[in-house]
Amino acid sequence: MRWLFLALLATSSLTYADEFEDDLGGFEEESIAIVEIEQIKERANQIKGSLKLSSSYNYAHNTPFVGQTDFRGLSRLKTTLDLSVDSKINDRWKSRLEVQAFYDAIYSLRDNTYTNDMIGTYESEVEIQEAYILGSISDSIDLKIGRQIVVWGKSDNIRLNDVINPLDNRELGMVDIEDLRLPVFMSKLDYYSGAWNLSAMIIHEARVQKEAANGSDYLPTHIFLKPNAIFPKDRTPDSTFKNSQYALSLNGRFTGWDLSFYGAKVLNSKWHFVNNKKSRTYDFVKMLGVASNIAIGNFLFTSELVYMKDLKFNTTKDEKERLDFLLGAEYSGITNLTASIELAQRHIFDYETSMVNAPDSVYKDERQTALRISYSFDHEKGMFTYLNTLFYNNSNINGGFQRVWLNYDLSDYVEINIGVVDYIGGDKVVLDALSDNDRFFADISYNF
């Protein structure tokens, strides 16, 4: 019996020891020769950029009537060049200049009835993006002057407090997030003390959104204009001293949570008719907001509250006030996967029933939801993302879109991106009119 026990012990321990010794063999495998690594040197000027070829294919439009623009099929063959130079002026000051240019060959290749407005909006563009100098006046004060982007708020998908920069709204749901905000010229002073940062801005440039071309598949104006009515171009207010915009934020970062307060007088993101509907312009709105996020375990909870006043509409005479509220949660507890959901509620005070009519098309209470799921794979070479954003009135869906795409790094320099966007119709006519804009898209970028 004793021998049997000893034999069993010997056998099991032998197996364990053998396995362990066997596993140790994993260290002995011959090493792989690695590529020569270029040591990054600190240079006074650093240039980086990207060259992107992008295309899209519309698959849901109806056959157009004679003389109308045919939006079906291949709708984009665009080349975009982005160049930026970061310069170090001295130990305390640096600068950045970024220029972006694009040309979309589809407007010359396709035999189509594109209007001048469409060609002017979508065919080509050369533009200065960010252009600023940034430095420290003292150990606790920074100054940044020039065209820049300032992101307010804590949410990732729904913009409530994020009012400083106008947006590129030319193709809702199709503009890359990095190109969505348009930089504006401003002077920004930051004061830092412990966990707090006070940021004051004077915005010198009166810049407004880039809107979709009149009559394009992203702005089908016929839905709210009378036949043969002219839709006037939007007019940007002059960038004069009188039209300066002001913004102030106070940001605190603490163990496990962040808190920000915002206040601003900025240009409204929405236009209104003036001069007996012969022109359109943008006026100033005032806002006060607060945003916070709290990290608990693998969850990041977000909340935002914004009060806005002086909102002008086309279907009412007086200005309105609005209160927006957002709650969000992001979960990162599953390896390689991040999921977030955000819910926003917007309430207009002294609402008038006429406001539901186009072009305003707003309800007294509107909700917006955003769901985003991202999954990275193959050692972060690939990222699969699903985004769904929907707008609701009290009882129904107003419209929205869902988008799914795959981004994959073919090398350190080349990446591809393919996906599909599905526009969802609903009660809001301006959103419902986009519901047949569904398209596939694909692009390839060379980053240098």
Binding site: S13, V150, V151, I177, D190, Y192, L300, G333, T335
Partner: protein, 260 residues
């Protein structure tokens, strides 16, 4: 006679008595002076099954604030991640989650990261976030398995097993073997067993004494399954400078937004 020999050797294998016990050794590893106020350039080479390689270059700043460690990582290359920066406050207190912020230059936004799951890949590499931080010693049971020479140096091989399922879930390692050099208490090799049958091999390929402190300047981490290499990562540290004049401002959201 043969059985007796085997038994004796096995008993030796499982119950070796050493001058120090396992916990004393890992305590020595944990309290070893690993430098402070450190600036270094870090290169990360990601190598896939087909030996195709990708390179990430970063500049890192590390400082101890009491028992807590603050770290800033600025990405230098490749171009698509350049100017991305990561700030982490690694708290010694187990009841306090680390604070982490990521600056995304494409979005011009600093995002707080909430994740207590440290089993995920560190920037696409074979290193997990738990590999990049110091573990809490009391979360594990330790046992000296044997002694072995690694190169010219004697090491203790220490078995480390998480005490709870929660710790296992957090790191992803159900068991690890740490090879601790006996002359300087540096972990020069480690073998980690994962739940899904994979194994990870950490191998310090270059160890240098900088300003009197042992620093691993080249480390390989290899992921295998059924003895086949699935992926590996080599971390190289260059231009390592210790005891630099790093003030608190270096470890702030202000700094990651401004860049180096």
């Amino acid at each position: 006679m043969k059985i007796k020999k085997i038994l004796l050797s096995l008993l030796t294998f499982s119950t070796l008595s050493f001058a120090m016990d396992a916990f004393e050794i890992v305590t020595k590893v944990d309290t070893r002076d690993d430098g402070d106020n450190i600036i270094s350039n870090m290169s990360m080479v990601l190598i896939d099954k087909a030996n195709k390689q990708r390179v990430r270059s970063m500049r890192t700043f590390t400082k101890d604030f009491g028992v807590d460690t603050y770290k800033t990582i600025f990405f230098l290359a490749p171009s698509d991640v350049k100017n991305t920066a990561f700030l982490t406050f690694d708290y010694d207190d187990d009841n306090k989650d680390d604070d982490q912020w990521l600056y995304l230059p494409a979005l011009k936004k600093t995002k707080r990261i909430a994740s207590t799951d440290k089993s995920g890949s560190f920037m696409g590499s074979d290193f997990s976030y738990s590999d990049m931080t110091k573990p809490d010693l009391t979360d594990y049971n330790y046992k000296i398995v044997k002694e072995k020479k690694v190169g010219k140096h004697n090491t203790w091989i220490i078995e480390r097993v998480p005490k709870t399922q929660a710790i296992l879930d957090e790191t992803g390692y159900k068991k690890s073997y740490l090879f601790v050099r006996q002359d300087n208490f540096v972990v020069v090799r480690a073998m980690h067993y994962l739940d899904d049958g994979k194994k990870k091999y950490m191998n310090v390929k270059k160890l240098e004494k900088i300003d009197g402190i042992w620093i691993a300047t080249e480390i390989e981490m290899k992921t295998t399954k059924n003895k086949k290499r699935l992926h590996s990562t080599i971390l190289q540290f260059n231009n390592v400078k210790l005891n630099q004049n790093l003030n608190e401002n270096k470890f702030s959201v202000r700094q990651i937004e401004k860049g180096i």
